[in-house]
Symmetry: C2
Subunit: 351 residues, 2 copies
Amino acid sequence: MTTLKNDTFIKALLRQPTDYTPVWMMRQAGRYLPEYRQVREQAGSFMALCTNPELACEVTLQPLRRFDFDAAILFSDILTIPDAMGLGLYFTEGEGPRFNNPIRTPADIEKLPIPDPEIELHYVMDAVRLIRKNLDGSVPLIGFSGSPWTLATYMIEGGSSKNFAKIKSMMFNDPALLHKLLDKLAQSVAAYLNAQIAAGAQTVMLFDTWGGVLSGENYREFSLYYAQQIRSLLKTEIDGQRIPTILFTKGGGLWLEEMAKAGYDALGLDWQTDIGKARARVGDKVALQGNLDPLSLYAKPEIIAGKVKSILQKYGDGSGHVFNLGHGILPDINPDNVKVMVDAVHEFSRR
Amino acid sequence: MTTLKNDTFIKALLRQPTDYTPVWMMRQAGRYLPEYRQVREQAGSFMALCTNPELACEVTLQPLRRFDFDAAILFSDILTIPDAMGLGLYFTEGEGPRFNNPIRTPADIEKLPIPDPEIELHYVMDAVRLIRKNLDGSVPLIGFSGSPWTLATYMIEGGSSKNFAKIKSMMFNDPALLHKLLDKLAQSVAAYLNAQIAAGAQTVMLFDTWGGVLSGENYREFSLYYAQQIRSLLKTEIDGQRIPTILFTKGGGLWLEEMAKAGYDALGLDWQTDIGKARARVGDKVALQGNLDPLSLYAKPEIIAGKVKSILQKYGDGSGHVFNLGHGILPDINPDNVKVMVDAVHEFSRR
């Protein structure tokens, strides 16, 4: 077990004292970086990049060469599990992810296998191992997965969706069938995250990108319940080291109290939620990660710095805060503005 | 002044006792009705339909012939004001609203006129008068407008938007310029709603469709502030009759306490917000309107009825509830399911 040179991120997630507030950024390895676009070009397609451990490792490390991030996050996609289940993931320009074989019938759900992460998803585990080796203990590596509800939306809609008509029809008219799918996905996600942990992920995060399109009642039954199931299946201690866990539901600001009881060490916050009010609501149950509006990075440097300071002040004193955006960075953001954000977090939060 | 034969809707908004919970539906005059599609076809374009008072009146009345709705809502579009300001509104298949002359420069904002509702928007006022005449006091007529923030998003983005990059860039980098635009829009909206009231609208509703994409701080400064301004300018008593007002921010569930202080009689709720919890939060400050997930109307009749009952029970006893969807009905919903919802509201809520 490598001893981490910088364990600020892990400590903050566990609400232990830190010298400053750690920071990383959703989609920090991505299209806003010219060096990423070059590797993406070289790979030929997005999936070719995801499935090539050397290239996935390279783009994971790129942002750490530019910015003082306190964590690395595995470069991958949230939809690797449905792909490993045989749905045939591909990406179209402008339309996002699509499946060759979306779920159309109850039989399609019945026959879905639970993938073995070291077989169907070995390319992810190889990437995790390679990244850990290359990080050489500099900062911790975050592994992740999409949440069962979020994965199910893509699998049933066949891709991105505006209204989620197909999955909601199933949810209202045949909830037992949807639960069957979500249960298989929860088992698959737990196995996948445990394999990432075994391969070297030092924190894992569950991305529930679409939980926020549900009513509170439906969120509890069809999304949060499975996040809890997964948490109960995670092996979060390895060689005496705690592996912190993060739950992020975009649009979940109304349900933070319930999310805080799901067993995760930290909650991710979107930018709509005031982080000071969020902290008052969850108390000392969980750490909080967030929550600058990603669009703030279009602002001038001094304005970005002001917004960073404001979020740090709203969170207030004491440990338990990881700075992040409230959602992924956009592709046309100037990388210089990311540096402004990262340096401002470190400067203003130094105790 | 016609005495209303059915004033249940007005009474509920004013939190006066009613015999049952009134119900109407956002986009109740719309594409899910074959008779609407026929008139829309006849009109030639969506804007031709909006600007023809006879046809706008006809489609406003259509849903009342089928369902026992307790209110009619003016058939129009939220973007009539920017059109009247000279931006040239049109609609494209699949892409939604567009402007021939979106806002590109500060000078574009400087030169924007504040429309005179009885001149540039006379077609709306003619429609209001004609609908009132044809309703003949059966149920009240709701007038409406988009909120300044929501109108500004379309005017600056040039149409619908995913990330609101242009308006948020302006908000962060030149807030004074955006405030200038929002101030003009607030004056225009207030004049427009006052003209609708003078022409016969018996309730007015402010649709803040995109307030929910803001942080709490930005929502307060760039959306809610102008909703308050408008409310303070509204003439809400006419011939001794109170004209109730409704504020609806989609995605605004986190900010209900603040919204409840903006002076409106009622708040519209999206479907993510639990109506029982919302009521506990706003107390007796405002009535609540909502909040069935519009996608619930894909469900089987007995499931729809169950969901209606659940929302009525969550709201609980006492006055102050207007039943509605949490957002507009989708075009491919079976009209029979609307009847199930409306009848279930009346049946289960009868005191």
